[in-house]
Amino acid sequence: MNQTLAASGTLASQSDRVGGLPAAIFLLLALVPFVAGFGPESYVLGLFTRVMVFAIAALALDFICGYGGLVSFGHAAFVGIGAYAVGILGAHGITDMLVSLPVALLASALFAYLTGNVCLRTKSVYFIMITLAFGQMAYFIAGSLAPYGGDDGLTIHLRSTLFGFSILKNDRTFYYFVLLTLLAVYLLFRAVVYSRFGRVFRGARENPTRMSALGFDVFRFQRVGYVIAGAVGGLSGFMLANATEFVSPAYMSWQRSGELIIMILLGGLGTLHGAIIGAAAYLLIEEALGGITEQWKLIFGPLLVLIVLFARGGLLGLADKVRGRLSRA
């Protein structure tokens, strides 16, 4: 009764699209600091850094959701865990990223592994709910960490250092650090998606029975994918903590997970660079609308509904349609 997005056909055309658009996106992102220098630099840099940080998390979510069919409503938990790794270590005076980064990745990967064992046994909406449940658990645990701010959160006094050098202190340097990480994550997922592992992973979404019949242990493949996504989520959290110099349980709320889902849908599910576009579109629209009126959510809510109803395949799908119509005209 339900058509999955794969069946709608839009995915097929987009996943074949390589080069072109993604390269343009990264080029534009690289140019932002130069353009920002003409205006309120710190603000613009901060804004686009946030865009990239969420794009990293969105890429991970697009991988398991768009390609793997695993709709996780608890993805923000991984981001939060990565962020808290930075915060908690920082509270004890440990700021070197050679320590905090591996800890962030390992902690979120571990959480993904343990919760994945339970979640991946369930299907469709049950999967959505159980990931939500684990997300909420992480949220409440973080809120109970009284020595680390509890519900109020924790200020991070120093961005991550490398061998004692505060290399991330400068906003521009930090921007490029995040940009390179985003690029690396994008290339990583691109490679994974087209690898043998990736093909099994994608096949498991479309027809798990067939994959089992072919001899693949679907559960283990999905778990590996889930752990990778979790670790990348933790990486995003590491960046977020450094970007805002603050960490709080709010980073793990279910509303945040919902926002990540909106981002990947907005850009175009199952396209990878769609996740980046979606993150940018969501945050920039939020910023722009918020500047216009205090009641901006009155516009934003229906906008989301309209996008779902009429812009299938998100912004990339829209662009495709427009291009198609133009080429015919």
Partner: protein, 388 residues
């Protein structure tokens, strides 16, 4: 792709036009304007804007532009908006926030940029003590103080057994700690509820079982509205005295109505505080906004007066930060609450009262001053502050 370019272009254009208006003084307001606690942020904004209006749209003789940002009670949004105020709008002052956790989030981005942050509500203990900041000023109180008022009141009134309840976050913990600093009797129980909890059937049962002389609660916003109603419905109001801070105030009384009449609170002000500037303020506020002002409004009003008074001393100059800070320290204004002075940690030294909820002749509800509990009272953390 094109969308991003366009937006970046628009932002640059906006900031360019902003750069042209250099002579105007810019003040950024940051408060929670969405979700259930929005009414508090609205009071803050209204109070500040009323002051600006009464001063003819000028502070310290300079035309003022007020930029309002909503922190949505989300810490990273607050950080983002604070940076927007400081970098994009290039404000000279940031006034806000309401909530303590928002304050912790925005302290660094605002003060690191050299901008003065004035809090008309949140006054956490860390910034009063060890982490005090020369660019940070408070026109409200230190969070513990209103609770200490109730603790002292309970102690002086000879209460033997008190039941304590507050939300499970830093301000809640400060509340309980503040109460216990002065109340030396028996604590029946200390309950921390999740922030935002609305149904108190479980806690009310505990209170009834404990049979205390009084309860002391700190339950802001919707939490207080619900608790007061349910407390009254459970029939406990006649048996147990109701002591509180920030639980029955003008922001919640319109919803609590008769249920809260006779309940006590601890505060540094009440609408019926008898001095001419306050009487005018209350009348103006009610006329303009058709609501009784609460502490959030009057403290924001005072923040505007503080800026005005300081700028009068520096002759409108905001670029000499040392001189500006010194001028602010002088508290060169007549506060709505009467006597007002800054302590070395930039928190106020003021009087505190025990207030009682009553219904006015015109049907509206407000808190009224019953008894002065502390005079010229400074917070206990000032001694830990390295600023002298």
């Amino acid at each position: 792709m094109y969308k991003k370019l366009a937006l970046v272009g628009a932002m640059i254009g906006l900031s360019a036009t902003a750069a042209g208006a250099q002579e105007k003084l810019k003040v950024g307001l940051i408060a929670t304007l969405s979700g259930p606690p929005a009414v508090l942020g609205q009071q803050l904004r209204n109070g500040f804007q009323l002051a600006v209006k009464n001063l003819g749209g000028k502070l310290g003789g300079r035309d003022v532009e007020v930029v309002v940002e909503d922190d949505e009670l989300k810490p990273d949004v607050a950080v983002n908006k604070a940076k927007a105020l400081v970098d994009r709008s290039k404000v000279d002052f940031v006034v806000g926030p309401i909530f303590s956790n928002m304050l912790i989030a925005i302290m660094k981005p605002v003060t690191d940029a050299g901008v003065i942050l004035i809090s008309p509500n949140a006054g956490t203990s860390n910034f009063a003590g060890k982490e005090c900041n020369p660019n940070f000023f408070v026109t409200s109180y230190q969070n513990d103080q209103n609770h200490e008022v109730m603790g002292k009141y309970a102690q002086d009134a000879g209460m033997k057994k008190v039941f304590l309840m507050a939300p499970n976050y830093q301000a809640g913990k400060d509340a309980i700690a503040g109460f216990k600093r002065y109340f030396k009797g028996e604590i029946a129980d200390e309950v921390f509820v999740p922030l935002g909890q609305l149904d108190y059937s479980a806690e009310l049962t505990k209170i009834a079982a404990a049979s205390p002389d009084a309860i002391f609660v700190f339950l802001p916003g919707g939490m207080g509205v619900n608790f007061v109603k349910q407390f009254r419905q459970a029939g406990l109001a006649d048996k147990v005295k109701f002591l509180s801070a920030f639980t029955v105030d003008e922001s919640t009384l319109p919803a609590q109505k008769e249920a809260a009449v006779g309940f006590f609170g601890g505060a540094n002000w009440a609408p019926n505080l008898d001095n001419p500037q306050n009487k005018k303020f209350v009348a103006d506020y009610e006329k303009e906004y058709n609501a009784v002002p609460a502490t959030y409004a009057f403290q924001a009003y005072d923040a505007a007066l503080l800026i005005d008074g300081a700028l009068k001393l520096t002759k409108g100059n905001t670029s000499d930060k040392e001189a500006l800070r010194a001028a602010l320290m002088k508290a060169n204004f007549t506060s709505l609450r009467g006597p007002f002075k800054f302590n070395t940690n930039h928190y106020p030294i003021q009087d505190f009262y025990q207030v009682k909820v009553a219904q006015r002749a015109d049907g509206k509800f407000e808190t009224q001053i019953d008894k002065k509990v502390f005079a010229g009272y400074s917070d206990p953390y000032a001694k830990d502050c390295p600023m002298k």
